[in-house]
Amino acid sequence: MNRRQATAALAGAACGGTLRAAQFEPGRGLVGLPKQDFRPPAAGSYRLPVIQQAPSGWVLEGNRWPRRLEGYTKGALTLLSFVYTYCTDPVGCPLAYAAMLEVRDRIRQQPGLRDRARLVSLSFDPTHDTPAAMQAYGGEHARARSPRWHFITTSSIERLSPILQGFGQDAEVERDDAGRPTRAITHVLKVFLLDPAGQVREIYSAAFLMPEVIVNDMLTLALASATEAP
């Protein structure tokens, strides 16, 4: 399967089946969701310190007018990741998507989280990933509720760059041997967990991308929100 075929397969495939748990290979990075060989500490028995404040910005969703990013980072427990729709790196966006999907399913089993959580997929590439393209990418998930899953983009690189910088999310366009930009955007896979005040409380890179742990962290924040100052 070449890159174009892989892209088509990714874009056209329907959701279903069972995700195979793959392995973290120290020193080689990730080749799938990492193996989790432990039981997480009980939700609420540990703290998740504030790592940083989520940045401000303007984003686009569907055919809506531009909205402030804060509308997607505040007011709920938020799991946010950066993606681009034609990404075929199995340890990049598809891996983040797989984790988000499993987290979504687990959230649905948690009455205390269902209506307090949201998922956000924000595009790395505003040129290709128009609001309509992101809605198409999200498909039925973009229309589902409990929890909501927002597939958003920005109007330009100028709008996107400060958001990336504010989250500490790197992104570079790969060049081929002749120095020409390719379609690939290299980035360290990061999924951000934000509290209702829009503060980043955990960051999951590939080695940490364990859905059970992520939901446990969301429950911990939900339990703490009643006693913590915003």
Partner: protein, 440 residues
């Protein structure tokens, strides 16, 4: 939208095609962009010496790419001003920045090594560690996603060895602090000391070790050895932590200052190894038959009675071998770790009058060593040679490749090393033009 089935197929494909990454084997498992193949540059965090060059601590960059016109030469040096006991470094998770600490004045320097690794730039200096945490001596820098876990060595109250770990985000802002376990409890008897950090993500485990406080590590070594009371103030524990909760779970008694910790990198292995400086032992940390984590000494390094002072270790990527540098006798030793329960020394070579750090490439074919331990612990006079030495390892012997004399080059004392590489295939900043072209 990718389906779960497609993702599974892609994961399987990736597992089959995963390249053999090359890198030093002691980075945090969260450090990305591991070097594939040959490293291009070696960065050496160097202690300034009064009267030698500009006398300042500096980051020295050496070209280590065979065939390069400047192979084996210093291609860049970046002085940071003053002398503050430059010691260890660590990459951020995206490998774009290198954090480097000073044990005396507690400053942390953040270098941009991602933009142009041949010419690192100082982009930030963090100087609030003591104010924020009360800890002194930022030693180990261990990447976590979006942040840096820093193990300190001492504290500002008494400059002894009781200390803790600090977390800063990648923007250089303080996040949290975590004291080392002290006193008797159900988890064991903690001495509160700290030194190195090593994480096993699959097990959600963090291991820490223990050294000594500011008063000792800043003291002249001859004076220290003669001070019986001071010699009692060394760490003798390792602690096992719940990484997620950042809470210690168990304290192991490991007498004689256990220093560097390395988890085996071999898939399926779940054991770590450390070396004690004062008692000259290798210690294995592993689960017993009942699943309980235990630490026990499994080998002797040289003749402990002669105090060879093992100061650094480097584990091979397959977990089958371990380099050990012993400072006092200037030897680089290789241990066969095929049976980690019974490591066996199979090779040794005198690589200097004093040797400290040892780093190897991922394929194990290249081994680099440096000379300086601490400014006041290094040997005196002619014995105080300062160098970086590069070797080839063919499985039987170390063959010298090149050497940089840090005294002749007026650089200072060569301490910690990190590898970097030019971006593979090159990449461009995410700007409007690049994405427009890329999106066609």
């Amino acid at each position: 939208m990718p389906s779960r089935k497609t993702l599974a197929l892609l994961a399987l494909a990736a597992a089959a095609l995963a390249p053999a990454f090359a890198d030093e084997t002691c980075n945090s498992p969260y450090t990305a962009r591991l070097i594939k193949g040959q490293e291009h540059f070696l960065h050496v965090w160097t202690l300034g010496v009064q009267g030698l060059g500009d006398g300042s601590d500096k980051l020295v960059t050496i070209d280590v790419m065979p065939g390069s016109k400047t192979f084996g030469k210093v291609v860049h040096q970046l002085s940071v001003g003053g002398r503050g006991e430059a010691h260890h470094m660590g990459f951020t998770d995206d490998r774009k920045h290198l954090w480097a600490g000073r044990l005396d004045d507690n400053k942390i320097f953040v270098f941009d090594v991602g933009t142009d690794p041949a010419r690192p730039k100082l982009v930030r200096t963090i100087d609030d560690l003591v104010k924020k945490t009360g800890y002194v001596g930022p030693h180990t820098f261990y990447a976590l996603p979006g942040r840096m876990l820093i193990q300190a060595l001492s504290n500002s109250k008494d400059h002894g060895g009781v200390t803790g770990m600090a977390v800063y985000n990648n923007q250089g802002r303080y996040v949290s602090r975590h004291d080392m376990p002290v006193g008797d409890s159900a988890m064991g008897k903690g001495d509160g000391y700290g030194y190195d950090i090593a994480i096993n993500p699959q097990k959600n485990l963090l291991l820490t070790s223990s050294f000594t406080g500011w008063t000792n590590y800043m003291m002249d070594m001859g004076k220290l050895i003669a001070d019986a009371e001071a010699m009692k103030r060394f760490g003798g524990t390792m602690a096992l932590w719940d990484l997620k909760a950042m809470k210690p779970q168990k304290v192991f008694q490991v007498p004689g200052a256990p220093l560097e910790i390395r988890w085996s990198l071999k898939e399926g292995d779940n054991w770590a190894i450390s070396a004690t400086a004062l008692t000259s032992k290798l210690w294995l940390i592993k689960q017993d038959a009942s699943g309980q984590w235990q630490a026990r000494d499994v080998a002797t390094i040289g003749d402990p009675a002669k105090i060879p002072l093992p100061v650094d270790i480097s584990i091979t990527a397959d977990g089958k071998g371990l380099w050990v540098n012993t400072f006092m006798d200037g030897k680089t030793r290789y241990f066969d770790l095929s049976n980690p329960e019974a490591p066996r020394q199979t090779y040794e070579k005198v690589t200097g009058k004093q040797v400290n750090m040892v780093s190897q490439s991922w394929d194990g074919k290249r081994v680099y060593i440096t000379s300086s331990l601490l400014a006041n612990w290094d040997k005196k006079g002619d014995m105080d040679e300062q160098a970086l030495r590069a070797y080839q390892w063919d499985g039987k012997a170390l063959t010298p490749v090149f050497e940089v004399d840090f005294k002749a080059e007026k650089l200072g004392r060569a301490h910690h090393m990190k590898f970097s590489a030019k971006a593979g295939g090159a990449s461009a900043a995410l700007d409007a033009g690049a994405v427009r072209v890329a999106a066609r």
